[in-house]
């Protein structure tokens, strides 16, 4: 009596291997992936982490850059792509080599004092970005005529409920799908018929303006492109993916491709805005409605709606994850009990921190008369200022051979990474000096704004 099912799987020829001198064909072993399968196997955390940079703050900054300076900052977008690739790859490597998150490593290697410092930096940076996500939610829904007084509190409450009740993962894909709208930017950039020769020239030939506005936007662009939370996310996502140090080799392409792809989109946002707003003489982007006009070549009168959907998706996606990831890594660093399925009594620090970040983000975003885009750019600048701290921690740890063994940085890598860090520190120092002198009534750039 033979049980005969209807459908037979087609028979794979299997892999020829020799075990103890005996050749055999084994069909259950994993074939090394090739071609598109190879990409599918490695792409993941790096792509998501880098593209998280194109959120509310990112769009605001890139749109401002394009409107104000046209193609003038494209050269730094190219340079910064390499910096981003290197930084994200180091974070991924640190995750694979140790199987642990950044704050966890800081705690174990550098003790409680440095941990407190790192936690404050992470709280400031991520708290700022959380505010910017709620600003993004408010601005996006205002485009559809919904008052931010309604949308922001409702979004915050819904986000809290979704995360604490553990159903966030289910809606996450919807938010992610909404951000696909931003693929409209490359289309808009092409339809706007920019002068491609001009675009190419500005990508390779640096144009520098000596004024405070330019410096501020420069640091903001660095801050939004290489945001501290992207490194934290990259590292913990690699840990979660379960990459073993022995097989890290191929994974690094995930970080590289992610960085390249996300900055390509960012560059198209700049080009689209430059080719529409900047050429039309509108050099200041002050609201979401202004920024949406860059999508007019592709969507015409529906530009605002298209922009609104994308902005809402990107903002919602980060508004839940960011406070959660922050609460998680801070709890991890201090040894607080953590986990979304624990209630307030069992994990007071974790749930308290998550709730505080969410509430604070929503409250600040609701301050009346807030200059939306100015605030978003200020937050990205703050991220740029705090970035060197995180970079130095990563660099110190990735060079600690007792910790990472042969996955430590090579010399070329160290030169590039330390170069990025020191350049950034120089920029930040210049920005801070200018702000301080400005307050004292001295203009560092000789009235060039």
């Amino acid at each position: 009596l033979q049980f005969a099912p209807s459908r037979r799987p087609s028979l794979d020829p299997g892999l020829r291997v020799v075990i103890r001198g005996r050749p055999m064909r084994l069909r259950r072993l994993r074939k090394p992936p090739t071609g598109m399968l190879w990409f599918a196997a490695i792409l993941g955390p790096g792509l998501v982490a880098a593209n998280a940079g194109n959120d509310a703050g990112g769009i605001a900054t890139y749109a401002s850059v394009g409107a104000k300076y046209g193609y003038d900052l494209l050269w730094m977008m190219l340079l910064i792509t390499f910096s981003l690739a290197i930084v994200q790859e180091m974070a991924a490597r640190l995750g694979a080599a140790t199987g642990r998150g950044l704050l966890d490593l800081v705690r174990e290697r550098y003790g409680i004092g440095w941990t407190l410092f790192a936690v404050i930096v992470v709280l400031l940076a991520n708290g700022g970005v959380t505010i910017s996500e709620f600003v993004g939610i408010g601005a996006a829904l205002e485009l559809f005529g919904v008052s931010q007084w309604l949308s922001v509190p409702v979004a915050a409450a819904a986000m809290w409920w979704l995360v604490v009740k553990g159903s966030y993962r289910r809606v996450e894909k919807l938010f992610l799908a909404m951000t696909l709208v931003f693929f409209a930017y490359p289309v808009a950039a092409i339809l706007a018929r920019p002068d491609w020769g001009e675009v190419a020239r500005h990508t390779v030939v640096p144009t520098v303006h000596f004024n405070a506005d330019y410096l501020l936007l420069f640091v903001a662009t660095v801050g939004t492109t290489i945001t501290p939370y992207m490194q934290l996310f990259q590292q913990s996502a690699v840990v979660e993916k379960g990459v073993a140090r022995r097989y890290y080799g191929a994974e690094r392409w995930d970080a590289y491709i992610g960085a390249g792809f996300s900055n390509l989109i960012a560059a198209f946002i700049v080009i689209a805005t430059a080719a529409t707003l900047h050429v039309a003489g509108q050099t200041d982007v002050e609201s979401a409605a202004d920024a949406a006009q860059a999508l007019a070549p592709v969507a015409g009168q529906y530009a605002s709606a298209l922009f609104g959907v994308g902005l809402l998706g990107a903002s919602l996606l980060a508004a839940g994850v960011l406070p959660l990831a922050t609460a998680y890594s801070v709890s991890e660093a201090f040894g607080f009990r953590k986990g979304v399925n624990l209630d307030f009594r069992r994990a007071p620090m974790f749930v308290g921190l998550f709730t505080t970040l969410l509430v604070l983000g929503a409250l600040v975003a609701l301050i009346p008369g807030l200059p939306v885009f100015t605030l978003l750019i200020a937050i990205q600048t703050l991220n740029g200022v705090l970035l060197p701290v995180i970079l130095i921690f990563i660099l110190r740890l990735i060079n600690d051979r007792r910790l990472v063994g042969d996955l430590a940085n090579g010399r070329v890598y160290n030169v590039l990474a330390w170069g990025t860090t020191i350049m950034l520190i120089g920029l930040v120092a210049l920005l801070l000096a200018n702000t301080a002198l400005d307050a004292a009534g001295i203009d560092l750039f000789g009235g060039g704004a």
């Binding site: 037979r8 799987p9 084994l26 620090m349």
Partner: protein, 418 residues
């Protein structure tokens, strides 16, 4: 932890001085403990430094308090090489702020402070403070803090790991208290550990237990952890695992890693595992096990019982005995349960009590259809046969359920039949 003895927190020794017999004093670098010394590791050296940074080890302290450490030695101790330093367990460098296994509540916790107490004629590490208050106390230099006795974890309940899987192979000391837990409990604990720590935990367990723990880990975790075990131990664990579990694991590994490991497994186990690996993962052969008890059909009940005795010695679940015409050709003739064999008259030919009208499945049939057949017919095991009727293995109920159930349920499902 003896509450009546005075307790000193390691954090209180921040910036403390070491005073020698002659009255000379120098900065305390660290305290060296002996992890192998009983329930509470004793402080065996006081570590100080020369001006050029060379580390020196002094004898154990004879007094420790908030003012500093006193050592009954006149000289400045012996020079410690970098190598020796790397092998030592230092309280500040290694244990403070580390992740440790809490064997009482079965969770992974962070050491926020360490408690030292005078025991007998020396000092020993008696507990770890894992409360958030310890963090506050350290950050405020003891100004704000609360003693929460509930969150002090007695060191007897702690397994300390170095985060280095090669440490155990290099003969370093461990408590190995974690070995008292059930394999599934240890596997769930490792879920919360970084993979280097999880691999290290496997290396300090005896092989049979480590193999059971490895079987109970999630597939991605298995594949990650096995890369950090020494190749000798990895092969030993794979040989120790049930063949279907071993085949599942090898199927998750990179090709060269899988073939290298299979090469290092003893030949008779390697042959059984390779036999399973011939079949695609989504076929009946891909979810079967071939650790099956067989006996010749031409015999009495007593002869069959005698024949299967060695096979029963293996600690796996056995209920069915498959009867074949010949142990080489293995053409399946029928099945008999252990209960039937024990209840029947020993002189009865086994053919008279066996079930001959068996439901079987071809090795290349779909795994999902096979799984549904197991559940639809309420079987405990479904024999898988070659086209000529030779018995290849059986698909057990739990492997069938693992195909049908949603992924989230599989991890929590007890394994009964394999």
């Amino acid at each position: 932890l003896r509450k009546e003895h005075p307790i000193l927190r390691l954090s209180a020794l921040k910036g403390a001085k070491v005073t020698l017999d002659g009255g000379a004093s120098t900065a305390l670098i660290d305290l060296v403990i002996d992890l192998a010394a009983g329930d509470y590791p004793s402080v065996i050296h006081v570590l100080i430094a020369d001006e050029d940074g060379t580390r020196r080890a002094l004898p154990p302290p004879n007094r420790i308090d908030a003012h500093g450490v006193r050592v009954a030695a006149a000289a400045r101790g012996e020079v410690v090489t970098e190598d020796a330093l790397a092998r030592m367990v230092l309280l500040r460098r290694d244990v403070m702020d580390a992740l440790v296994v809490d064997l009482k509540d079965l969770r992974i916790v962070r050491v926020n402070d360490l408690l030292l107490q005078s025991v007998g004629d020396g000092w020993a590490l008696t507990a770890a403070d894992i409360s958030p208050w310890a963090v506050v106390r350290r950050l405020t230099r003891g100004l704000i803090g609360r003693d929460v006795a509930d969150d002090v974890l007695d060191w007897q309940q702690v397994e300390f790991l170095r985060g280095d899987p090669h440490a155990a192979a290099a003969d370093r000391d461990y408590h190995r208290r974690v070995a008292r837990l059930q394999p599934t409990q240890i596997a769930r604990l490792t879920d919360g550990l970084p993979y280097m720590h999880a691999a290290e935990l496997l290396t300090i367990l005896p092989d049979p237990l480590a193999a059971d723990v490895l079987e109970a880990m999630l597939p991605e975790r298995q594949a990650q952890v096995i890369t950090e075990l020494g190749s000798g131990q990895a092969a030993r664990l794979i040989a120790e695992m049930a063949t279907d579990q071993a085949a599942d694991l090898l199927g998750h590994l990179e090709l060269d890693e899988a073939t290298n490991l299979l090469d290092a497994v003893p030949p008779e186990r390697a042959r059984l595992i390779a036999d399973l690996l011939r079949f695609p993962a989504d076929s009946a052969g891909g979810i079967m096990t071939n650790e099956v008890v067989i006996a010749p059909v031409a015999g009495t009940v007593a002869e069959v019982l005698q024949h299967i005795r060695p096979a029963l010695a293996r600690p796996d679940f056995v209920y069915f005995v498959y009867l074949v015409d010949d142990e080489q050709a293995r053409h399946l003739r029928g099945v008999v349960t252990l209960r039937d064999l024990n209840l029947a008259d020993p002189e009865t030919p086994v053919e008279q009590i066996m079930r001959a009208d068996l439901l079987t499945v071809g090795a290349l049939e779909s795994a999902l259809d096979t799984a549904h057949a197991v559940s639809d017919h309420a079987l405990n095991a479904l024999p898988v046969v070659a086209p000529d009727g030779a018995l290849l293995g059986i698909v057990t109920l739990d492997k069938a359920m693992a195909q049908i159930l949603p992924e989230a349920w599989r991890d929590r499902m007890p394994r009964v039949f394999s």
